[in-house]
């Protein structure tokens, strides 16, 4: 089991007013993402819990790319991973930001 955090900076605060969103599920090949608007406007963070060990560098790369694309300032993302592939992780993270920004 691995549990780690990836911190980032964002150029702007994530839009919208929703305080919290949860999406996905901790099932095989899937992941659950809880998003909370609890950080300072230009900070972001992803916390990962996963039973699939040894892929931290890939997680960090995926997450850093997500921070670049989405600029989710102020948001803390918490993940319970069920063995999702990197593209599924990206999809879920992007979906979760869209829900937070009320764009969905």
């Amino acid at each position: 089991m691995e549990q780690f955090q990836v911190h980032g900076a964002s150029k702007r605060r994530a839009g919208g007013h929703r305080r919290q969103v949860i999406t996905g599920a901790n099932a095989s090949g899937n992941l659950e993402v809880l998003v909370e608007r609890v950080l300072p406007d230009l900070e972001c963070q992803v916390e990962v819990a996963t039973a699939v060990t040894g892929f931290r560098p890939i997680w960090e790369a995926v997450i850093k790319e997500f921070f670049e694309r989405a600029s989710p300032g102020g948001l803390r993302f918490s993940i319970n991973d069920g063995g999702a592939r990197p593209d599924t992780v990206t999809l879920r993270l992007m979906q979760s930001v869209q829900l937070m920004e009320d764009k969905a």
């Binding site: 599920a25 659950e32 909370e36 819990a49």
Partner: protein
């Protein structure tokens, strides 16, 4: 409520627990108790190298159905098969006790249980099993306080094991074609009694023995619905209006109907044998016909009852 949940996942089977809640209840919103941000998670999974869920796989809270207040629980069938663990079970026990304590003219109109469970979470076997007994006890208290408890079953886990027993303790049961309601899982029967007794890989057999169509025709569930969340909503609204009281007369009537079922069909080993004995049309095809055609079939005598 996001458009995501309105346009996609209109299908109960495909929807998540939260999407089912959003589609089932009135639009004005659902208040969740002990939500995921509280992180009331299972402490027992890490030792099995399993990650958890922020809500331990069950969402509980309050909303409105057709303008009336209801309490609701929805299991996430994709997380560990929707199985009952210590925290998961305790959330449902707490919800039911809240319903019991709030009974009265301003209290909840019903409790809705969106069951999607394989039964006890084996990693937490004892706690899960005892939680199921506590849930049953609490359901009976809620019903005794005059509040109907409805079971809604249609997800990928079905209602197995203790979940099947919980289902049959409810006032009314609504199920769609996907649903299986049973005690022992087919694999467990096959492992214990052999493939002749139950070939668990024969999907058609599984649904003939455990599936909602068999349950509906025999009176094992009260309403068979097509698979959209809207269908479940309509059925729930309709059924709440008239539900059996938890009392001696009801259980005596249940004793009669369950005894009669045994007398009439106790030597049957497959659903078509029951349909043949009961005189239903085209027994071999009932499993395959469309939902519309299926709903046109008249149920077995005694299947339409208030004896639950």
């Amino acid at each position: 409520m996001s458009k995501l949940s309105q346009t996609f996942k209109a299908d109960w089977y495909e929807a998540s627990a939260r999407e089912r809640i959003a589609g089932l209840l009135d639009a004005e919103g659902f208040t969740e108790f002990l939500g995921p941000e509280q992180r009331a998670m299972s402490p027992h999974l890490a030792q099995f190298d399993l990650t958890g869920a922020f809500d331990d796989g069950i969402v509980v809270g309050r909303g409105r159905l057709d303008g009336r207040p209801v309490l609701l629980a929805a299991q996430e069938g994709r997380f560990l098969g929707g199985a009952f663990g210590e925290v998961h079970g305790a959330k449902l026990v707490g919800l039911l006790r809240a319903a019991r304590d709030a009974a009265g003219p301003d209290g909840p109109h019903a409790v809705l249980l969106l069951l999607d469970t394989g039964g006890v979470r084996l990693q937490e076997a004892n706690a899960g099993e005892l939680a199921i007994s506590e849930i049953i006890h609490a359901i009976i208290e809620v019903r005794s306080a005059g509040i109907p408890v409805l079971a809604l079953v249609g997800g990928r886990a079905g209602a197995f094991g203790g979940g099947g027993i919980i289902t049959a303790c409810c006032s009314r049961i609504i199920a769609s074609e996907h649903a299986r309601v049973s005690v022992s899982g087919p694999e467990v029967i096959e492992t214990n009694k052999g493939v002749e007794e139950f070939d668990s890989r024969d999907r058609a057999l599984v649904w003939r023995i455990c599936g909602a169509r068999t349950r509906y025709l025999t009176g094992g569930v009260d309403r068979y619905v097509k698979g959209s969340i809207q269908n479940f909503r309509e059925a729930a609204i309709a059924l709440i209006a008239h539900t059996p009281a938890f009392e001696l007369a009801t259980l005596k009537a249940e004793q009669r109907r369950l005894s009669e079922r045994l007398q009439r069909f106790g030597d049957c080993r497959d659903a078509p044998e029951i349909w043949r004995k009961a005189g239903l049309p085209e027994p071999e095809h009932i499993a395959e016909i469309s939902d519309d055609a299926f709903l046109a079939i008249q149920r077995i005598k005694g299947a339409d009852h208030d004896a639950r």
